[in-house]
């Protein structure tokens, strides 16, 4: 069973207009790779040229910040939910 990836509308345009995606992978990094392979424009918004997460785009795996786990190396279970939260500042 794949992982559900939720991205905000601000990134959806780089992903065919969809905010919900399904992808498979053993780690968060693998899941991000799988999404990026489908939507190259989105990949660049999710990680830097070295493949590392940006400090201003946070990934929550089942509501837990992956930075306090193993980052992109954090293992993902089938059916998990990955939520991508970029910094926003509007008011």
């Amino acid at each position: 069973m794949p992982v559900t990836v939720r991205i905000p509308t601000v990134l959806a345009r780089a992903a065919g207009g969809q905010t919900t995606h399904e992808a498979s992978g053993a780690t968060v990094g693998d899941v991000v790779d799988a999404i990026a392979a489908r939507h190259p424009g989105l990949g660049a918004r999710l990680r830097d040229a070295e493949g590392q997460p940006y400090p201003y785009v946070v990934f929550y795996l089942d509501d837990e910040d992956i930075r306090f786990q193993r980052g992109f190396g954090t293992p993902v279970a089938d059916g998990a939910e990955l939520v991508v939260v970029p910094a926003i500042a509007g008011g």
Partner: protein, 387 residues
Amino acid sequence: MPLGRPDAALPQLSQEEILRYGRHLIIPDVGVTGQRRLKDARVLMVGAGGLGSPIGLYLAAAGVGTLGIVEFDTVAETNLQRQILHGTKDVGRKKLDSARDRIHDVNPNVKVVGYDTRLDASNALDLVRGYDLVVDGTDNFAARYLTNDACVLLGKPNVYGSIFRFEGQASVFCTKDGPCFRCLHRDPPPPGAIPSCAEGGVLGVLPGLLGTIQATEAVKLITGIGQPLVGRLLLVDALQMSFRTVKLRRDPDCPACGKRTITSLVEYTELCGLTSHADDSDVPTIEPAELEERIRRGDAIDLIDVREPNEWEIGRIDGARLAPIDRFAEALSTVDLQRDVVVYCKVGGRSARAVRQLQAAGFTRVWNLAGGIERWSEEIDPTVPRY
């Protein structure tokens, strides 16, 4: 634990106040003591715009005794779609003046203290020091980091909310044991990485939704009731109408509240968030008057509008063609090598990126229209609507 002074030191309520706040007083969790806490409370609002509007209105209506407001801006037409503190008659007035009038109309018991200034590293500590808590209704990263760091240094709770298009975030930072904004995002994103509401737009009711949540959290902190949004980040998606919270942890390595390596305020440039433009000073520009002159004398110019189709629909410069910036690479092959190229967008940021792409593709006779279609409308053709 409520904020502020011990019960015995709280001010009494007048008969008029007892009547006004009756619907609070009959909630056992608030009661007379809670209302006296609200009357005694000093809340600093940073910003009286989209978020600050519901924050100010509801905190005033709730009976917060002192509302400090930091705001340097004046009311513009484009504010009225969401900034409900201000009305059509206020366009051109200082937001502070219009906010004060409106708040006093809602509740004349509230003392409004206005600070006609931008929050900066030189004044933030002095502004925050005199208040019990801060509500962050700013619209840019620079002010958010300043607000956060000042709150960490002074030990004041920071009720955070931010919005973009259809989505918002809220949390309560800088409580004694909770995380701060830097635990979430240690450093601001580089200019250009995140679009601002001025560029990306925002649904008018969205700040209403998030600002009301911030006001709710402020009232809860003051009265000491409920579970504050500490250690949780609320994510609101108005399109899906979904609310979810993710866990926020205090980062032991956080330079503000963890390792405490930030011991004084750091000033970020206005570029961070106020506008999404990178440094475009080396991009060749053409003034609106010069472009108009060149069009009038019939020069061969490929005039390219790099905004989105919905912006093009609002209005455009005669003779232009549309090639949105996100798909500009595909349009490069259509650019005429024989003609001079002028690109424009709303105010000049996106078109500067287009100029760079054209230069990288080998075009040398390329200019960015200074100030975009906004200056064109102001200086050349007022029939082009501003937005």
